[in-house]
Amino acid sequence: MKASTAVVDAGPPRRRTRRLTFDKASFMLVFLGLPLAIYTMLVVSPFIQAIYYSMTSWNGFNKNMAFVGIRNYKKLFANETFMKAMGNNIELVVILPLVTIILALVLASLVTVAGASHGQTRGIGGAGFYRVVSFFPYTIPAIVIGIMWQQIFDPSNGLVNGVLTALGLDRFDSFAWLGNEVTAMPVSIFVIMWGFVGFYMVLFVAAIKGIPAEIYEAARIDGAGRFRTAVSITIPLIRDNVQTAYIYMGILALDAFVYMQAMNPGGGPANSTLTMSQYLYTTAFSKGQFGLACAMGVVLGALTMIFSGIVFMVNRLTGGRDEVTMA
């Protein structure tokens, strides 16, 4: 506090007048009340209602909403299709964040610190170009990414089979990538990954740029190679960003609705790409079994929480807190 303001500044700093003036009352009411009213009505209350509905046999249109306890959940866990969908989501959540983040980290390291091993620490030439291009997919709506790649993997007119047959691989002449039980899931994972690698790369680039160059120089003087630098310096110092990315990608993998709906609306061959979200959607909006659909929503929500919990715990257990921090 400067002495010159001391005359007016009698009370402790940062305290406003306690009297509730009209100005302040109307201010709080509008500023807090309005957003909260919308949020409560359209976000909080539906979440809570969903938990209640999940324990009813509600089908939406008749008034009788019998309370059935956990019967819906029992039904779900005995339902082969739902369990298959859950398995697919678990497969997605295990693979998708891992490959996306590894690839994003590799690309981010290349454009930031993998340049010449002498002189100043820098990325390789043309880094700006690669960064701009990598971000392109993030500006494309998910549904469009799905549709685009569905066409690219089209058995007869698609780009992929065109390239492969041009290379002389005739057995791909009309190979249905998305219609084959073995390839449908890997192809779908690739497409989702295509949409996100660039975004996380840009995110990691920003984080890596926040690391002081001295640390890299010290590591280099100590004789650390590029790989060693990436594993022992870069990743530990940006691990919070990696954790955030991991959680976001995981939440996305547990949803994956838009992509799957675009590429294989029916759940794919033998339900090999069916996700819980797709099954929930049909159960609710085509079959009208709202109670059951809400139970699926609760399972999905619970899995999301469990996943985030695991990521936090792994980060903690592997020393997330006692690492070097840059204060």
């Binding site: 919308i38 909080v44 010449a116 569905q150 995110l203």
Partner: protein
Amino acid sequence: MNNAEHSSRPTRSTTGDTSFAVVSHALLALWAFLVIAPMLWTLLTSFKTTSEIFASPFKLPANFNFANYASAWQTAHIGTYFQNSVIVVFSALFFVMLLGAMCAYVLARFEFRGNRIIYYAMLAGLTFPIFLAIVPLFFVLKQINLLNTLPGLILTYVAFALPFTVFFLYSFFRTLPYEISEAAAIDGAGEWRTFFSIMLPMARPGLASVAIFNFLGLWNQYLIPVALNTKEPNYVLSQGLARFASQAGYAVDFGALFAAVVITVAPVLVVYVIFQRQLQGSVSQGTMK
């Protein structure tokens, strides 16, 4: 490799460096190709006639005419969907930025009972999947007669974009200096005046970043419109495209489908390329929580 790195301060690139540079350039170039090729192919295909599309995936279109674009815009109603999308996304963006900034400001700079609870309730909304809420949401909107209407869609967009907006702007408002708002109070500005004339303009960089991400998120939104906005004339682009794509299997106007994809992607992509510097800056701000 190791030898090269131990040699003292070479003025030109070492062989290790050169080979590494070649490998990493190859890797990055491959990635850039993987990103650009599908987009370029989509652009080229959008100019082809249906028979050209069936003939070969590589051949360039015989002539670049915009027939596919015209039929996508008119016959497939992409024009209407585009208009709806613009109305919904920009209205929602305006309201969520205003309400989000107001809410974040109060939470960040005023102490009152329940402050933390509200903050954590917002945070929870960020993690729970929309799918959990979608069924009850359908009936909430039905009850207030906003189901299948654009205002209903706007309101829902605002509600679901609110947690992210508040969460991000909260940390931003915390960093703004207190002295200035105190000075304003001393000069006789009320709470309203302080917010709109002083704090909001000061928060402009933060607002810009959040607005960009909200725009991309809302433009991208698919589940909410598909579940809550099922009347065809009210469709937004994402759901209109999905419908068109699933129909194209029968009507086989693939050229128009590709044109529709380009119409959806091009405006955002062009804006990104123009403003990419600012946008990359926004991403880096996003990482500094």
